[in-house]
Every structure is written in structure tokens, then in C-alpha cells.
Amino acid sequence: MHDSHKFKIPMGPQHPALKEPESFSIALKGEKILGVEIRLGYNHRGIEKACEERSYIQDIYLIERVCGICSHSHSTCFIQAVEEIACLQIPERAKYIRTLIGELERIHSHLLWLGVAGHEIGFDTLLMYTWRDREVVMDLLAELTGNRVNYAINTIGGVRRDVSEQQALDVLKAVDILEERTKYYIGIATTETSIIKRLLGVGVLSHEDALRLDAVGPTARASGVTRDVRRDDPYAAYGSLSFDVITDNHNDVYGRTLVRVKELLESFKIIRQVIKDMPAGPLSVKAPRKIPAGEALSRYEAPRGEDMHYIKSNGTEKPERVKVRAPTLANVQAVKHMLKDRYLADMPIVIAAIDPCFSCTDRLISVDYLDTNRKQIIKWQDLHAYSIAWHRRHGIDFTKLNKETRGAGF
């Protein structure tokens, strides 16, 4: 370590900058980053597989828990695919309510991000302020849906709860407060010197690279890519609402900050239209328990970017295949590129700037054997055999137990 001045530091799986376990191994020369190795797989929960073992109604519950922040995004994305296979036309009012909750979720996610970004650059005051204001939208979501994070408002064929007149007024009142606060934050982000110093020119992702690496969401839009599923492939009520797709040409973390705070203003605009135009009518249509055979791909503009769900049904009440591609998986490769030749101090904010959600992203576990350069993926059977062997070593033998229970007629 002394002679070459080059060393590797482990950021994660446990590190104060990361809110979820993920491993970034950074090769450093002094303060300069030479290279980054990203390893996913510390938080894999096997949700896709679990979905295939459960009915569609149970899956809504499960899919909602893919992500703690954009829970509505995932459940809407999943349900849209199911509804497409089942050829369900959901009522207009349900579409508007889905849009309303989706935009409120975007507001809460972007405010959360702003606070986290402040924390990563050592500006805790911003964290405290934004998270206080975020409470306004969290309370609103709790009032509308009964929950602060996992709203459980979606069901196949519509939504489960109505928005009353009084609630609509409360939404408008809260949006006014939030808009005023957001304008204040835009003021801070564009004038406060130490913030600009830490964000400008950091984590550059050029327009070409953003396209080449398939970045999505605010990360791509801050590199001048005008890509937004809400406009390109309208779902829910977005087709009949007017809003702008915010882009920025800074290509860096500063641009991503501006895109997010300006998107907040667009969200307020959308919510006002939704409340104004919300048609009366039923909340849901009856959905069949068994979804006919077919397949569908659904896209949704989550706060972090394009979320994608693929569902294949086989005519039973359980899906044949569920595939989730969360926005972070699309963006995480760009991080490696953004960190090239930057300083260690920029590392936390560059990672945070894609607004990573690692639990959504995590894939299967692969084991690298460093000594023999061999890679291994643990399959279900291997894991099962390993578990039996481990317990046997510790004096617990399940084989006997299995025989006994079977003998007893279970």
C-alpha cells in the first residue's frame, strides 16, 4: 500500500453513504478514483419467483413491496400488464386516481432524494428541511390511501379507494404549500455557492454516453435525452394531461438536481389538472380470477426512471413468469462511467445522483472464487442441499424428521 500509493477501499456492503447493502470496490490513487467495481446481489429477495407461486391478487401485495419508495410505480406497472392480458378497460376515474397517487409518490421520492443528496455532500441542513416538507406529502398519502408508503390502492381492474371532495381540497392545499417550498429549494440549488461547487461538473454523463448506456429517468434527462414514458407511451390519465418533460444540458449531478426539482413543479401542475378534470364514475371493473393465457410488457415512468414489467400468463390464477426491470438496473452501469477520474469525495453524491434503489435492482447471487477464477451460481437445489448438510453438521437431522412426519400421515 505504501510503495505504489494505490489501494482499494471497500464502499459497502456496509457503509454510511449507502442506505442499502451494495458493494462498490474503489481503486484509489491518493484521492483519485482509478476504477470502480460494482457488485450487486446483497439484497436479492426472489420476488419474481415468489410471484410465480402466488395468485395475481397476492402478487399485487408482493410487487408493491419491491421498492419502499416507488411502491405505487411497481404495482401499477404490474397491474397494467395484467389488465392488458385480460383485456380489461378500467374506469376513467380509476385512471385519474392512479395518476394522482403516482404523482404524489414522485413528489415524495424527489424530496427524499434532495435530502439524501444534501446529506451526501455534508449539507445536513438541506436534509432536515426537505424531509420536514416531505411530511406534508406523506401525510397526504396517508390520508388518501391509509398508508404512508405502501399505498395498496391498486387492484386488478381499478382502484380500491375513492378520493372525496374534502380530500381533493386537502390535496390542492398541500400542493400549494409544497410548490412554495420547492421554489425555495430551486432558489437554494441555483444560488448557494458550496452546493454548486460540489455538484457542478461532477459525475459527467454525456448525451452520447447516456444513450449508449441506456440511462433512464432523470439521469438520462439531465443529459439532454428527452425520454419520458408518461409522454412517449401514455398510460393511466397522462394522455389527456398537459405537462412538460424537463431536460437539462449540464450532463452532471447539478443537472440531475435541477431536473428533479423542476419535475416537482410539473408534478404539481399535473396534480392540479387531475383534481380539476377527475370524472365521476365507478372505481373498478370486475376482474376474472383466472387470467387468460398471453403475455404483456408494461412500462411506467417511476420517479427514478422507466420501470418495466413483463408478465406471461398461462390461463390459471398464477402467472407463468414475472420479470421486473427497475430503473436502477438501467442506470447502475452509468455510475461506473461517471466516476472515472473523479475524487473519492464525489463518490457518494455520484452514486446517490442516480437515486439508486438496490433492493429493486438486485439479481441472483453469483459466487466468485478468487483463487481459481471460477464463478458459481447457487441454484435452489444446491441451497436446499447445503441447508440440510449444515444442519446435519450441527446435529439436526431433517431426513429422520421428514420420514416420521410422513409416517404419521401428514
Binding site: F7, H15, P16, E31, F123, K197, R198
Partner: protein, 313 residues
């Protein structure tokens, strides 16, 4: 003999400065919290933290140089307390003083940073090593403006002893106005010394966990934290003695109150400044110090040189 021991260990030495530093930490944390729209800790929180840390198990890394790892915090604490004994508090004269003690105080206040560097380096953790290298890099940036700020005040007073400086400014109260640039330069340099935001790159939590203190725990961490607290009080007292010597002819009680108010004022300024900025990168910090603070220090030096020329005529 007993009187001297009492002064060193109890009042205004170790125990007094320890208690005072806990209150200073409380004031700093509470103000910081209130400015951030939080409730903040109760008044006894720093005491509770200290007692909790002292009672906890300390872990010395297997790879670390055990002796140096354990000595570093004691060394740091001893040097700040010694520095405190040489600073005039509510009197023109400190507990101990001699001609040239201003240099000794500044030197003693540098030692904790050295101890943090050595302790961090020999704990062999990667995070601690990066943190300690940053701490020592930062030292070269803020130490020069701090020296320039305080020594230009000494220059005007035409003495190298803190006693002489306080007497001079007490007799010529309007001259502190000429040192206002020096006061702010020294205050900002002091924030670098105390590793407060925006100069907290050496212990930047989101990058290098806790910097030099990453491997420290239990008693040793408690001593380091106490050191930083006392350093804050010592630094504030030094600034108060050099830049804000008011009312030193008043009765003892009034002088004591004024001293506390001055320390609180400086701690309050530190709390305010650390609330409104983001952390600077280490390269930005160095650039800031050499680009803005040092020239400002030079301006202060020039002002005082010119003033001195006019005065001596």
C-alpha cells in the same frame, strides 16, 4: 504547590474546562439543531455521551500499533489543556504566562491535529488513513491564515505575549475594529482546526466513515471527543482574548459573565456557519484557504503595519 495543582487540575484547569467544553458542545449542537429545524439534545447530552463512551469496551485493531494508538488521544488532550492554561480568560493575565506565549499556544493547538493524524495512521484502517492524510493536508491550509490573523493583532500591540495583547486592547478598545478581518479569518481557520462543516473532509461520514476515528472506541474515542470540545473552547477563548478584550477593568463577576458570553458568541458563530454550508472537497478547501483566507490575512497584516507606523510617529 497545592494551589498550583488546584489551578491546573480543578479551576480553571482540567475539571473547569471539561465542564465548560461540555456546555460549549451542548450550545453548538443545540443551536445547530434549532437552525436545522430539529429539537436538539438536552443539556446533559454531552456528559451522557462522554460517560457512555468511557464505560464502553475499547477495541484495539490487531494490525494497529497499540502503544501509539493509545497514547495519541492522551497526547492530544494534554496539549489542548496546556494551551488553555496559557490563555487569559476573564483576566488580563493567564494562569501561566511568559513573553512569547502566543506562539506556544498556537503550537499547542496544532498538536491535537498531529495526534489525530498519528492515531489515525497507526490504526491502519484504510478509512482512518485517508482521513488522517486529509487532516494533515488541511492543517497546512488553515494554519497559515490562523497565524496571520492572530499574529497581526499581536503586531499592532507590539508584544508576543497574550498578557501584553489583552492589556493593549483593553487600554485601546477601539483598535479591535482594525482587527475585524483578522477575527473572521481566524474564526474560519478555527473551524478548519475543529473539523467542522464545511471543512470536515477529514471525517466526512459519507465518504470515509469517521476518518481518523474509524477504529477508535470506548475511552480513547471519549478522550478524542473531549479534546475536540476543549479545543473549541480554547480556540474561542483565544479569539476572545485577542480580538474581543472588553471590560477587563470590571468586577470579577462581570468579567466572568462577559467571558462566557464571548465564548458562547464564537461557538454560536461556528454553529451558524456549519449549518449553512455543504462540505467542501479537500482540494476545494485548500484552494479556498490559499486563494481567499491568506490574502485576507495579508490585508490584515498590511492594515496593522500601516496603523502601527501612524501610531509610532
Amino acid at each position: 504547590m497545592i494551589k498550583a495543582l488546584f489551578s491546573i487540575l480543578v479551576f480553571p484547569g482540567l475539571i473547569f474546562v471539561g465542564v465548560l467544553s461540555f456546555f460549549a458542545e451542548f450550545a453548538d449542537r443545540k443551536l445547530h439543531a434549532r437552525l436545522q429545524n430539529r429539537i436538539g439534545p438536552p443539556w446533559f447530552q454531552p456528559f451522557a455521551d462522554f460517560i457512555k463512551l468511557v464505560a464502553k469496551e475499547e477495541i484495539i485493531p490487531k494490525e494497529a500499533n497499540s502503544t501509539i494508538f493509545q497514547i495519541a488521544p492522551v497526547f492530544a488532550l494534554a496539549s489542548v489543556i496546556t494551551a488553555f492554561l496559557y490563555i487569559p480568560l476573564w483576566d488580563t493575565r493567564a494562569l501561566f504566562s511568559f513573553d512569547g506565549d502566543v506562539i506556544v499556544v498556537l503550537y499547542l493547538l496544532t498538536l491535537p491535529t498531529m495526534a489525530i493524524f498519528i492515531g489515525g495512521w497507526y490504526s491502519t484502517s484504510l478509512f482512518a488513513r485517508i482521513g488522517s492524510v486529509r487532516a494533515i493536508t488541511q492543517l497546512f491550509a488553515y494554519e497559515i491564515p490562523l497565524f496571520m490573523g492572530i499574529l497581526s493583532a499581536a503586531l499592532l500591540a507590539d508584544t508576543w505575549s497574550l498578557y501584553g495583547i489583552t492589556v493593549f486592547y483593553n487600554n485601546h478598545p477601539l483598535f479591535w475594529l482594525s482587527n475585524i478581518i483578522g477575527f473572521f479569518v481566524s474564526l474560519i481557520a478555527l473551524m478548519g482546526k475543529l473539523e467542522k462543516v464545511p471543512f470536515d473532509a477529514p471525517e466526512a461520514e459519507t465518504e470515509i466513515v469517521a476518518g481518523s476515528f474509524t477504529e477508535y472506541s470506548g475511552r480513547f474515542l471519549a478522550l478524542f471527543r473531549l479534546t475536540l470540545d476543549i479545543e473549541m473552547v480554547a480556540g474561542a477563548s483565544l479569539l476572545a482574548a485577542v480580538f474581543l478584550p472588553v471590560g477587563l477593568n470590571l468586577p470579577l463577576f462581570a468579567r466572568f459573565t462577559i467571558y462566557l458570553a464571548e465564548v458562547l458568541f464564537i461557538v454560536g458563530l461556528i454553529a451558524l456557519l456549519r449549518t449553512i454550508f455543504a462540505r467542501l472537497r479537500i482540494d476545494q478547501m485548500i484552494r479556498f484557504c490559499w486563494k481567499y483566507m491568506v490574502p485576507l490575512g495579508f490585508i490584515q497584516l498590511l492594515i496593522n503595519l500601516v496603523l502601527k507606523g501612524i501610531l509610532s510617529r
